[in-house]
């Protein structure tokens, strides 16, 4: 059974979002990492890149396959978790600690379209 954390927002494509000071911190859910298996490579945007809600912003690669990442919100990438470049397995170890990018949101109302923990529980199974 995968972990779902109360208080985070989730997308149907298995990203999570935590909002802090107008920044959307984005990662993938525990369900997503467990479905992928051992993650060996992260492909993330650069600081300053624009991301768009619902559009691809990178990928996580497991041994077997590549899984595209879809941004839950639109905005400008303000930080990238560079630690994952050399230690992608951290996503497997704790998917909620291993954030991927932080985005300065251009339209905070996009958050309304995301799922809460209870609703995501129905998706992640």
């Amino acid at each position: 059974m995968s972990r779902i954390i109360e208080g985070l927002l989730y997308s149907e494509s298995h990203e999570w979002v935590k909002v802090e000071d107008g920044l959307a911190i984005i990662g993938v859910s525990d369900f997503a990492q467990s479905e992928m298996g051992d993650i060996t490579y992260v492909d993330l945007p650069a600081e300053g890149d624009e991301v768009t809600a619902g559009e691809e912003f990178g990928a996580l690669e497991s041994v077997k396959a590549s899984s595209e990442l879809y941004s839950p919100v639109s905005g400008t990438v303000e930080a990238v978790n560079e630690e994952l470049e050399s230690a992608p397995e951290k996503v497997n170890e704790d998917a909620y600690a291993a954030w991927l990018i932080k985005v300065r949101m251009s339209d905070a109302s996009e958050l309304d379209a995301l799922l809460d923990a209870a609703a995501y529980e129905q998706v992640a199974k």
Binding site: G37, D38, Y41, D43, E61, S62, V63, K64, A65, S66
Partner: protein, 367 residues
């Protein structure tokens, strides 16, 4: 669940172990148990076991058996000693590959052909279609056999411990012993595999295979799924039918002309393969190593620096043993020489690489 999916005799055991299951070659097969990396490393450093009961076994016997096998097989079984095994291909007249397979020369008479699960029906039909004029009996014995591949540097100890037969240590690479189980059923143990490590393949009745699996599990042998079967064979430079060999990819294109014996009087595909060997082929399978750790996947385009597409990735991984991104790719022969710079398009970016030998990993066979 697809009702058409077949299961092997170990299916319940995989479920009990909590394996991630997935359809492969028409069978519901385990992809991984503990995780691909852990299983891969177990085989490289200790021992692992794979359920390969889905593989096909086709028997060819009769007065013309040797002549017939040599007619459909690229390698040469003339004079092959009983208890010895050859690897090779069956080809179409145009040189395209029907399948790659192992041929076991039986002690009594005839041959056992071990073929890929996905190709059992196709191979059997192909064999029947071509046996006219040969005095042979052919039958598909696949359902009688279960099979376990026990692989890794500690496979020999595990096997001797399991069977209590010290002589198994003397078994040479690409040879086999015939053994008997307690009920007089036949057990074949061959020193073969698909991982680049020393190891064995054990063929026995489905019931007996379940017992062997349970005993090996009790001895602490890591169960391994098809996930690491692919990463292991890939590092060792071994082809997978469908990726590096196919109806469109001949053994010569794949770089396996050493398994085509052109000094045989004849075999299906000989003329076409010889023409490819002497006149050259349009495309070849090469190895490519990337300088970045982005992962080339099957289907990704291979390009020149100016963006001209010259090929396609057939299998690619971030190699678990070598910790670098490598792939097999089918590329235009003009760009297939060792040391040729090539680029691979991975999503929106292009990554530089260079062609290298396909045996990425130094194999550890017991010769």
């Amino acid at each position: 669940m697809d009702q058409e999916l077949k299961t092997t005799c170990l299916h319940e055991d995989h479920i009990a172990l909590g394996a991630k299951m997935s359809p492969f070659a028409g069978f519901d097969m385990p992809i991984q148990y503990a995780g691909i990396i852990q299983e891969h490393n177990a085989v490289r450093t200790a021992a692992g076991m794979f359920d390969v009961s889905h593989m096909g076994e086709i028997v060819v016997d009769g007065p013309d058996a040797e002549k017939f096998v040599n007619h459909i097989f690229t390698n040469d079984v003339r004079g092959l000693e009983p208890g010895h095994i050859l690897y090779g291909m069956m080809c179409y007249p145009d040189g395209g590959t029907v399948d790659d397979l192992l041929v076991y020369k039986e002690f009594e008479s005839g041959f056992l052909l071990v073929v890929n699960a996905a190709n059992i029906e196709k191979d059997f039909d192909w064999i029947l279609k071509n046996k006219e004029g040969f005095e042979v009996e052919v039958f598909n014995d696949s359902d009688s056999w279960g099979q376990i591949a026990l692989q890794g540097p500690k496979a020999e100890d595990a096997l001797v411990n399991l069977m209590g037969i010290e002589e198994l240590r003397d078994l040479e690479f690409y040879t086999f012993y015939d053994l008997e189980d307690e009920d007089g059923g036949r057990v074949i143990v061959s020193r073969t595999g698909y991982t680049g490590e020393d190891g064995f393949e054990i063929y026995a009745s489905p019931d007996n295979i379940r017992d062997i699996w349970a005993m090996l599990l009790e001895d602490g042998i890591q169960p391994c799924g098809l996930g690491c079967r692919d990463t292991l064979r890939f590092e060792a430079g071994l082809p997978l039918y469908g990726d590096e060999l196919s109806a469109d990819i001949s053994p010569v294109m794949a770089g396996f002309s050493m398994f085509c014996k052109f000094d045989k009087p004849e075999f299906i595909g000989k003329e076409a393969l010889m023409a490819q060997k002497t006149g050259g082929v349009a495309r070849k399978v090469v190895g490519i190593e990337l300088s970045d750790s982005a992962i080339p996947r099957a289907g990704y385009p291979v390009e020149l620096e100016d963006g001209t597409e010259v090929g396609v990735v057939t299998t690619g991984y971030h190699s678990i043993t070598l910790d670098k991104s490598i792939c097999f790719a089918l590329v235009d022969s003009a760009h297939a020489a060792l040391g040729t710079p090539l680029w691979i398009r991975i999503r929106k970016k292009v990554f530089p690489g260079v062609t290298v030998k396909k045996r990425f990993y130094q194999t550890n066979y017991k010769k």
